[in-house]
Symmetry: C2
Subunit: 343 residues, 2 copies
DNA sequence: CTGAAAGCGCTTACAG
DNA sequence: CTGAAAGCGCTTACAG
């Protein structure tokens, strides 16, 4: 049953039926009621979305492209919050959310991806070729990295990390250490060698976080270049644990007494592993995170961290993509949460 | 730039260009190469997905309809795992995932939802009217509830809960209690009164879980009808906590010494709150969960629970929707994980 | 307020 | 192996 069938059935033109569904002001309320009533009676569920999208050029679909695999992103609290924010705005505007992973679109867009009316790209900077496969006219917003000529949404990573490190360094600290995430140009899950090449601040947010840590360390009289650093490839317990275990297993006089972690996931993994080993938190080891996820706050000891509002990031991106807000890069502020892991 | 433009440019018919992209066997490799090369050169990115979907009737989009809000589902470990499994299969088949919430489609399908080639409906049974708005010819798979005439995917909830309760009741238990989820017909966040109406096993999986608990309780010499029960409306810390706090705050001789919880989230909330109160686990209170989420296993004390493979549930649903597997209801088995919360 | 007609960009039998 | 043509189901200026 198509719109045309319905029009024939009712003895009106297809334009009138279309207007009944899309432009109530274009026909009399009485006629509109008759058309809608008859449609219901005959089981016509309204204009076909595929045909409508071809005709109007708009699909009412917004795609979110996640840098990581969907499996990772869906299980990551921060990415999930971002998606919540996006979904909230899209729902309210009658749009729907298509989920894509940059991992699966190395060469070409899968099936329906090119149908989207706009793209929100989240996480690490994807390859240039991926960005080129996207329709050029479609709006695009980058979240947590930059694409030249396109608006991007960030939190104040550097300032946040400066603030939390300064807080941590108020207490006497002998051996600070930094655990990074996706910071090195080449894959590296373990200690970062001094000569290792790092991604730029445009490519990864953790570079700015490191800059913030360095500024606070420098001010506190530590030589940043002498502070040991580790890198983690994926923000999960399984990938974090093998990097963190050897750190915690160092002898008492070598083990860091402060670990500045660029994510809550890293800090929580360190916390769990430290507890397993009977280390006292914060006496033997102080830990800071980043993100402010629930899991770090609804536990004892509570995590000292920086809260970023990922839901709001998602909302902003969605509003921009839908044109509710003019496209413009913006920087959200964060909030220091002082918990028990680093009082 | 359209397929037609490209055909004109090359001096071939549109059919040939279409075949170059879709049916390599229908033209000579040389011509195909020329067409694809020229397309790249001229910036033609391949056939338009909207037009193709209208023409072929298939969009290569599969919709997952989540009973709960997207915000909740995206932050729930179990739902996220299911989505991972779905996404994994869809990706491999060149399909994409559209995310919908039953909450937002009470009356009508939003924008592009009707475009999907198939529907995976997850969680609580949605209203009949919602199911009626879906295209009748499109395949549909229900996960964790039943829709008459459609295949459904379940885990062996009853057997799993019988098993874990039997394990727990091996130790002397004076005052068992059960904390349920979305079990009552009317909203209820607190104690369940004896006369309260419960949802049926077709509507909510927790009814089958309760049946399993009851069987083990009965076998262990407890009168199930005398076991106190609570219901929780949403599987989050914030909603669980106000129900659990009063339970833990009961005097020592009234407080349950075993809490059978129908989800890990509930059990973990109880665990955290019990730790806050200085209760010893498992000496003062034993706790069991359901799901086997990472958060319950990567902590001390480790949660005693039943692991269900939600990723596999998602994969099965996706395979069925894509026709890789014949549509048939199935029941996945679970695994008892004995942790420290109820040794 | 209503209707006839063009056309969105493709794919696919079908004829050659 | 290639091409001319129909048509997927709509929406939208435009004419009346």
């Amino acid at each position: 049953m198509t719109l045309k069938d319905l029009a024939r059935e009712l003895g009106v033109s297809t334009a009138t039926v279309s207007n009944a569904f899309n432009r109530p002001d274009q026909l009399s309320p009485a006629l509109r009621e008759r058309i809608l009533g008859e449609a219901r009676r005959l089981g016509y569920r309204g204009p076909d979305a595929k045909a409508r999208s071809l005709r109007t050029g708009r699909s009412r679909i917004i795609a979110v492209i996640l840098a990581e695999s969907l499996t990772y992103s869906l299980n990551d609290a921060v990415a999930s919050e971002l998606l919540s924010g996006v979904a909230e705005v899209l729902d309210a505007q009658g749009h729907t959310l298509l989920l894509l992973s940059a991992r699966q679109m190395q060469s070409e867009l899968p099936g329906a991806a090119s149908m989207a009316d706009g793209y929100i790209v989240y996480g690490l900077m994807p390859s240039q070729s991926l960005l080129e496969t996207l329709p050029t006219q479609a709006p695009l917003v980058a979240v947590d990295f930059d694409v030249t000529g396109r608006p991007s949404i960030h939190v104040d990573d550097e300032h946040a990390c400066y603030t939390i490190a300064r807080h941590a360094l108020r207490r006497a600290t002998r051996r600070p250490g930094i655990i990074n995430l996706r910071l090195t140009a080449e894959a590296c899950n373990g200690p970062i060698a001094p000569d290792q090449r790092l991604l730029s601040a445009e490519q990864t947010i953790t570079r700015s976080r490191l800059t913030g840590f360095y500024r606070a360390l420098d001010e506190a009289g530590h030589d940043p270049a002498a502070v040991p650093m580790w890198n983690i490839e994926e923000n999960t317990f399984e990938v974090c644990a093998p990097v963190i275990e050897p750190i915690l297993d160092l002898p008492d006089d070598k083990r860091p007494d402060l670990l500045l972690c660029v994510s809550d996931r890293i800090a929580l993994t360190a916390l769990t592993l430290a507890e397993d080993r009977g280390l006292r938190i914060p006496e033997d080891l102080r830990l800071t995170g980043f993100d402010g996820i629930a899991e770090g706050q609804y536990r004892a000891p509570r995590l000292t961290t920086v809260r970023q509002d990922s839901v709001e990031k998602g909302r902003m991106a969605a509003r921009m993509i839908l044109g509710l807000t003019p496209p413009a890069s913006s920087l959200l502020s964060t909030e220091l949460l002082i918990g028990d892991s680093c009082p």
